[in-house]
Symmetry: C2
């Protein structure tokens, strides 16, 4: 099994590191893609290696997409290659998990219409404007889409992610 | 099921947060005990609430003890109440998991003689002096004792912790 995390400088450290380590615990191969290859830095100073550029990613090779929050989604949502990856996951109905500001990338990819979802409270407005039904809950699962609000939701977020990918054939 | 994390200011953030969220994901109740009640701060600036003082802890109520690293173990190992908790876990043969500088607390509690274990590389000397057989591996399991070296070992560390506590009746 293979997971892809897309992020950039300014990521919310725990929202990237907790899924990263949790997926590896389960034996999942985890790739990190960003605008360019090399170390990206979190708000709290953790560094993690982006081992791929967005351009290099073949979405068909992955079973899960994770979009952490922080300031990173602001940069990621401006990259067409990231939005193309998101759309490919949705077209294949494959699991996409976004937390905090991560759903901003989904808004820019235009995949939120008619979806139930949550996000960081300041992002709720643009989620609604994009046609989603915003819910104030620790985790919302709607088909392939798993969303959470903030770091304290990570236990529920990871529980639903692991359920979703371990159910896969 | 109930887990206890003992730490203090200066903890290595990911070594506390990853176990904290992972255990909660599995439905485990997690208490955090420190020298005094209230927020403790990690090296990277994360704050977590210590909801108990060390003195308040009844070790018999817990199924797992976790000792994160960073600078915190230096303060924790000087607290007799912490060492008494560690000894109680070992006497009951209950799971104790320590990472990075966390094993320093085990050294001070005098429970390392004849044990196979690992730790952060700069701590290896005092582990050996305490009578332990130091191993340079991502995780070492010896009976009730689970030890790891550093944050990048967290997947293996958590995998062994979860195996150990989920095997419990």
């Amino acid at each position: 099994m293979k997971a892809l995390i897309i992020s950039a400088d300014g990521f919310e450290d725990s929202e990237l590191l907790v899924p990263y380590y949790r997926l590896k615990e389960a034996g999942v191969t985890v790739d990190v893609a960003s605008l360019k290859k090399g170390a990206i830095s979190g708000k709290h100073g953790y560094a993690i290696e982006a081992n791929h550029t967005l351009q290099e990613i073949k979405p068909g090779e992955y079973d899960l997409l994770v979009l952490p929050g922080g300031k990173a989604p602001e940069a990621v949502r401006a990259a067409k290659a990231a939005l193309d990856i998101v759309k490919a996951f949705f077209l294949d109905n494959k699991p996409v998990a976004a937390i905090c500001h991560g759903p901003q990338i989904l808004v820019s990819a235009g995949v939120m219409r008619g979806r139930r979802a949550t996000c960081y409270k300041t992002v709720a407005g643009e989620l609604r404007q994009a046609g989603a039904a915003y819910e104030e809950r620790e985790v919302v699962v709607d088909g392939n889409l798993i969303t959470s609000r903030q770091p304290s939701d990570l236990p529920a977020f990871m529980r639903e992610i692991m359920k979703k990918i371990l159910r896969k054939p």
